[in-house]
């Protein structure tokens, strides 16, 4: 009991020193609005969760893209599908500890069957899944798989040219 209390104290002090981004909790219309943005920005939208091992493995590559194209019209958005009750205990500390710089949002829509097809008809529901689009360039790509940095970067290079 005492030990866990001390641990909690240590943890909270640690996180106070890390400037963590705030993570908005959003509904599906957030994605719909994003998807319909009429501009020349290339959006890289990754569906992930802290419990998903392959998702966590590829997160650094999305962060790398975010950093590499910081001054260009490229935006990385990490849509977390973590359970809402784990927002405080799992998602927030995870994002803070890894100091994620790309925008993270939590999609609170537990009725998956109602919206998976609206993201993409070809999506079976497994994560990681990634949507990359640029509406001005009329480009849209959907992937239900893991990425390497090079693969991601190749797509972004093509869309930003």
């Amino acid at each position: 009991m005492k030990i866990s209390l001390i641990l909690i104290l240590i943890n909270s002090t640690f996180y106070l020193h890390v400037k963590a981004q705030t993570i908005p909790i959003v509904k599906f219309d957030y994605y719909e609005q994003l998807r319909s943005k009429q501009n020349d920005t290339t959006y890289i939208v990754n569906f992930w969760a802290t419990w998903c091992k392959p998702c966590v493995n590829e997160l650094p590559y999305f962060e790398q893209i975010n950093k590499k194209y910081k001054n260009e019209k490229v935006q990385v958005i990490l849509i977390s599908l973590d359970f809402i009750k784990q927002y405080d205990f799992k998602l927030k500390p995870f994002v803070a500890k890894r100091e994620l710089q790309s925008q993270v949002v939590l999609l609170d829509e537990p009725n998956y069957n109602a919206w998976i097809d609206k993201v993409d008809k070809n999506w079976g529901g497994a994560i990681p899944a990634t949507v990359i689009f640029n509406n001005d360039k009329k480009q849209y790509h959907f992937f239900e798989r893991e990425f390497s940095f090079e693969e991601l970067d190749q797509i972004v290079i093509r869309l930003t040219q």
Partner: protein, 204 residues
Amino acid sequence: MRTILLSVIIVFTAFSFTSITNESGYKVGDKAEDFKLKNIDGKMVSMADYKNAKGLIIIFTCNHCPFSVAYEDRIIDIHKRYADKGFPVIAINPNDAKVQPDDSFDKMKERAKKKKFPFAYLHDETQEIAKRFGATRTPHVYVVSKKETDFIVEYIGAIDDNANEPQNVKTKYLENALNELIEGKAVSQNFTKAIGCTIKWKKD
């Protein structure tokens, strides 16, 4: 010459069809081929072993995935209520233990013992059965009905519409499908999607 060309075309078409079926797996209405997989008690289990069943609830699931864990109690409950009505559960773990050590055969035994699984929990070690069905995530449900010696796929998808909060479930897709089958009706919503853990395929 023509015959050769024709056979080439036939062979090619046959090939492309096979690859399509392999990739996408079963659709509702398809005949499911029987399998023989090792249960946690060491015995081999096939669909044909369930002689008195009207059908089967085949669930690709595993130990580690939070969605599978979230559904464990509901799967146990569904088995308890539907086995007597002719639809027992067969759980199948398709994950590669090298990629996800928590899903090894020994860990399956542990988990089944701890949760007192009342149904068979089979190990799809070669992952061939998951591929044949077209399972992509855990949990991923396939209901088959028995027509003489054949098993026909009647429902593919999710258990219900809220993985994490059972108290907030509005539509019980799987139970609705089972009830309709028991009443001799066609399944009205025979395909649903859900977020799940990817099946941990073997690395080449």
